[in-house]
């Protein structure tokens, strides 16, 4: 193995406490549970959609036409139950793959009517990584059977690295798309200003919520140029900050700021990143959970 390959292997398979991966699993599972529960009918009831408008994406490529109406109810119920099981760490080897597949199915089905929504991509990809990982060896119902808490090991580290790689590459692809579609003109801020105004008008006409900041912002070229540069920097820099934990965490905060800005200026809520759960794999999240637990358990009765 060359020195570079050894370094890459050491980075990918760095030893890590089982509790860190478990905390990430619990948070991703809890997010998926709440998300599916809050939009249960939206995902389950496809009966009102025009069958002629079916344009399959993702898992729906396997279907020759719109799936039977009852099937979406079943898959949504399975997604809800298995996401909850993922959060609790119940029968992880079975429920985690089930959660990943059923989430992929219901999100694919909903995006197969002419409008691909991008708010759920990372959640599905993260669930896929967790489905391949021993993420319920701690802080789970499965782990209650274990005699002793597991030692830190590389098997708990690589899934977090894999989730980070997937996260970073997702942003990178979005940045490359802007350069390919818009070229360097995107950096001028003019395309962003046009999109802000265009999106606000479209939403106002469709009866959707639009940001009151958009029209004002769209008329300030310097501001939109700065925001465009910030957007491209966040997206294109993502893969290059992974090697340094400190840089990766700074990037995560910037990416969160980017989504907060998108929410404020375009009224588009990417809730998975906005809750910060999309980035927890980059942090020593178990120490935060331990501190919170210690604080509450140390309270005088």
């Amino acid at each position: 193995m060359t020195a570079l390959a050894s370094r890459a292997d050491a980075w990918l398979r760095a030893a890590c406490p089982a509790e860190r991966l478990a905390a990430v699993r619990a948070l991703v599972g809890a997010y998926a549970t709440v998300y599916v529960l809050a939009r249960f009918r939206y995902f389950a009831d496809l009966s009102g959609l025009d069958r002629a408008a079916f344009a399959p994406v993702g898992a729906m490529h396997a279907w020759s036409g719109p799936p039977a109406a009852w099937l979406s109810w079943v898959f949504t119920a399975v997604a809800l139950a298995s996401s909850f099981a993922l959060a609790l760490g119940v029968r992880h080897r079975v429920t985690a793959p089930l959660a990943a597949l059923s989430l992929l199915w219901i999100f694919s089905a909903r995006s197969s009517w002419g409008k691909v929504l991008h708010t759920e991509n990372l959640l599905v990809l993260h669930a896929a990584v967790l489905a391949c990982a021993p993420a319920a060896d701690a802080w789970s119902l499965d782990a209650r059977r274990a005699a002793a808490p597991p030692e830190p090991a590389s098997r708990y580290g690589w899934p977090l690295r894999a989730m980070s790689v997937v996260t970073a590459l997702t942003y990178f692809v979005a940045g490359v798309a802007k350069l390919r579609e818009g070229g360097l003109a995107w950096l001028s801020g003019a395309p962003l200003a046009e999109w802000l105004a265009w999106d606000a008008v479209r939403k106002a006409e469709l009866g959707s919520m639009h940001s009151p900041l958009a029209p004002t912002l769209a008329s300030h070229g310097t501001l939109t140029a700065a925001l465009a540069a910030f957007t491209l920097a966040v997206e294109l820099a993502a893969p290059f900050v992974l090697a340094s934990p400190r840089a990766a965490r700074a990037w995560a905060l910037s990416a969160w700021g980017f989504h907060a800005g998108v929410l404020a200026t375009m009224a588009i809520g990417f809730f998975y990143p906005l809750t910060f759960i999309a980035y927890v794999a980059l942090f020593d999240v178990e120490t935060i959970v331990s501190r919170v637990r210690a604080r509450f358990s140390g309270r005088p009765r």
Binding site: R13, A53, G114, W158, A162
Partner: protein, 155 residues
């Protein structure tokens, strides 16, 4: 499967899948899920004219209002918008018009909604928010259904 093989296998396969849309032809029509090339807001030079297709319910006095999104087919505004756009491009605007009107009125129509129109309106984004009641630069009626009355002047 050994742990090293699994670690590298999962990371490389998922990483390659996430990057794979870059090899596809770009454009909104080639988008997919969850492997996307994120075409939204990527293009430059879209201009200031915004074309929006929607279904309008028409009241007995000629007044128009936007049809509820659920009646169009989705509570999600962007999905509803695409349902209308796709129906127009397929030549199905008349049947969409009838379906939305039926859903909006319900099984036992009560209000004074007498018909519906599928409309494509174009707005100027530069002036839209300055006007108290923005008017379209142009407006094309794609389909009408129900017992319609003449629209109010200026609409």
């Amino acid at each position: 499967m050994g742990e090293r093989a699994r670690a590298w296998g999962v990371t490389l396969v998922l990483g390659a899948l996430v990057l794979s849309p870059l090899a596809r032809r770009q454009g909104a029509d080639t988008d997919d899920f969850p492997l996307s090339h994120y075409p939204m807001f990527a293009a430059a030079g879209i201009g200031h004219l915004v074309e929006v297709s929607s279904v309008r319910l028409v009241h007995a006095d000629g007044r128009e209002e936007r049809a509820p999104l659920v009646a169009v087919g989705s509570p999600e505004p962007m999905v509803a918008k695409n349902i209308v756009r796709d129906a127009i491009s397929r030549g199905d605007a008349p049947s969409l018009c009838a379906a939305v009107l039926a859903r909006a009125r319900g099984p036992e129509p009560t209000g004074d909604v007498v018909g519906a129109r599928v409309v494509t309106a174009t707005f100027d984004a530069r002036t839209y928010f300055r006007a108290p009641s923005p008017r379209p630069v142009s407006r094309v009626v794609q389909a009408e259904c129900g017992a319609l009355v003449r629209p109010r002047e200026g609409l």
